[in-house]
């Protein structure tokens, strides 16, 4: 079927989990992803981990970017990852975390299966580049 040209586009879910109303970072990253040519789905504020899992599974995103500035990452991120595993969606989803994450927690998150943690001040290009290089092959 040579006739069809594949039009692969990277799909991202930018998610705000838990009781955390700071979404400037999420908005900025959503814009940067859009301008990089990705399709971005934004979750909206105050989402429960199950909602994020539901969205990530149904939208079949390549990249799940979780933005947390509330300090609850040690509770919420494992829940999201568990949920993804439940739907067989963990293996081919690139999970990123952005926000205020202490160094010792960063190690723990990476062990859990988070691909990278981006702290404050990370240049947009760096994040976009990371996604372009590491988006899962499907």
């Amino acid at each position: 079927m040579s006739a069809d040209q594949e039009q692969r586009t990277i799909r991202c879910l930018v998610a705000k989990v838990g009781l955390d109303g700071h979404d400037r970072g999420a908005h900025v990253i959503a814009r940067a992803f859009r301008d990089a040519g990705f399709e971005v789905i934004y979750s909206g504020l105050h989402r429960a981990p199950e909602e994020i899992v539901q969205a990530a599974v149904q939208e079949d995103v390549d990249v799940l970017g979780i933005s947390i500035l509330s300090g609850a990452h040690n509770t919420l991120v494992p829940k999201v990852i568990e949920g993804l595993k439940e739907y067989d969606a963990f293996d081919d989803t690139l999970v990123l975390v952005g926000g205020i994450i202490p160094d010792e927690d960063k190690e723990k998150l990476l062990e859990l299966g988070v691909a990278e943690v981006f702290g404050p001040g990370t240049p947009m290009e760096e994040t976009v580049e990371f996604v372009e290089e590491n988006a899962p092959e499907r």
Partner: protein, 357 residues
């Protein structure tokens, strides 16, 4: 992706695995290798879902209303699939798909399968992708499938055409929007909904819409003659008595009607659901559903063929050194567009001719 993996994916989808359904829709969107075989395999399992199209200008409240509709259907025990189409940037191809945010009533309910799609590229392939995605949801076993799209442009009209029932959303005070509706959407709408009916100007918009719809079939309706008799209308005998037109029992013709809702609070959603059910029953009773499906498939076959032939010709053009070079020859007056077209198409026509025997 090989044939075995495709079959496995299809089987997983038919088994009700969400991940498989999501992946199939991605393949359809990406036009990934093998997506055609997947859709072919799914086709025999389709034809059970009721497809509802919801269209309207940005900010009319489509997503919020779709959320409420989905909730009601879920309360009745039906499963729901939603496809929300958003525009993408023509420059980068990127998009922010925001309709999901409004799906607040169905949080954590996996039996509402919500999928955002972007209008990728300008290839006009969107309606194909949408109808293939509908097939995937249908085969998965969804009872109701709602397709939501911004109602501007031919692309969108094509998409809503894939629905059994077309609902057009209008917001109050949008006099110019109603004007816009004249072109195209007025003809394809089965149900018109004035959303945000608690806002000023809602009744005015309802009246405008009704007037426009009535004009379509009865030019003298609501005509203010200042006490004089109304002029005769050739179809007058067939027309229903004033005011009774919305629920006339007449079989053959569906009279588009105007409803009012406040999607945010859920007001009027019951009536909308009732009307959707009525329309659905009408489709079945009159055999229109089947007729529509036939039309749709005919259009689909045509579109597929056209796209395939266009690709074939693109290959041929590339093989002959690209269309740019030909254009240059035309500019230099060495040849003309018609001759070039004949030159390219000639061999293909000969091939087809040969095969016909």
């Amino acid at each position: 992706m090989n044939a075995a993996a495709e079959t496995e994916l299809v089987e997983e989808l038919l088994d009700g695995k969400h991940r498989a359904l999501a992946r199939v829709i991605s393949k359809v969107e990406d036009r990934a290798p093998g997506y055609r075989d997947i859709v072919s395999q799914l086709h025999e399992h389709t034809g059970h879902a009721d497809v509802i199209g919801v269209t309207g200008s940005p900010g009319a409240g489509k997503s919020t209303l779709v959320d409420k509709l989905a909730k009601q259907y879920r309360d009745r025990g039906e499963t729901v699939g939603v496809i929300a189409v958003d525009p993408s940037s023509p420059y980068t191809g990127g998009a922010v798909l925001g309709d999901r945010i409004r799906m607040a009533s169905n949080v954590g309910d996996m039996d509402v399968f919500f999928r955002s799609m972007s209008a990728r590229g300008t290839l006009g392939g969107l309606s194909t992708a949408t109808s293939d995605a509908i097939k995937a949801l249908d085969a998965f076993g969804k009872d109701r499938i709602i397709v939501e799209t911004v109602g501007a442009g031919q692309n969108e009209v094509d998409i809503v055409r894939t629905a059994d029932t077309v609902t057009v959303l209008v917001q109050p005070g949008s006099g110019d929007d109603v004007q816009m509706l004249k072109a195209g959407i007025l003809e394809i709408g089965d149900i018109f909904v004035v959303n945000k009916a608690d806002m000023d100007g809602a009744s005015r918009t309802v009246a405008d819409l009704e007037e426009m719809l009535h004009m379509e079939r009865d030019p003298t309706a609501k005509l203010d003659t200042g006490g004089f008799e109304k002029p005769d209308h050739p179809d007058e005998d067939e027309l229903p008595v004033d005011g009774a037109d919305t629920d006339e029992p007449d079989e053959e013709i569906w009279e588009p009607m105007v409803l009012e809702t406040v999607a945010k609070s859920g007001e009027g959603v019951d009536e909308l659901i009732q009307t959707l059910d009525d329309h659905s029953a009408w489709l079945d009773d009159t055999g229109r559903r089947e007729a529509k499906a036939k039309q749709r498939y005919a259009a689909e076959i045509r579109q597929l063929l056209r796209a395939d032939v266009a690709d074939l010709i693109d290959d041929e053009l590339a093989r002959r050194g690209g269309v740019e070079a030909m254009a240059e020859r035309v500019v230099d007056r060495e040849t003309d567009p018609y001759s070039v077209a004949d030159e390219v198409l000639g061999p293909i026509e000969d091939c087809v001719e040969e095969q016909r025997e």
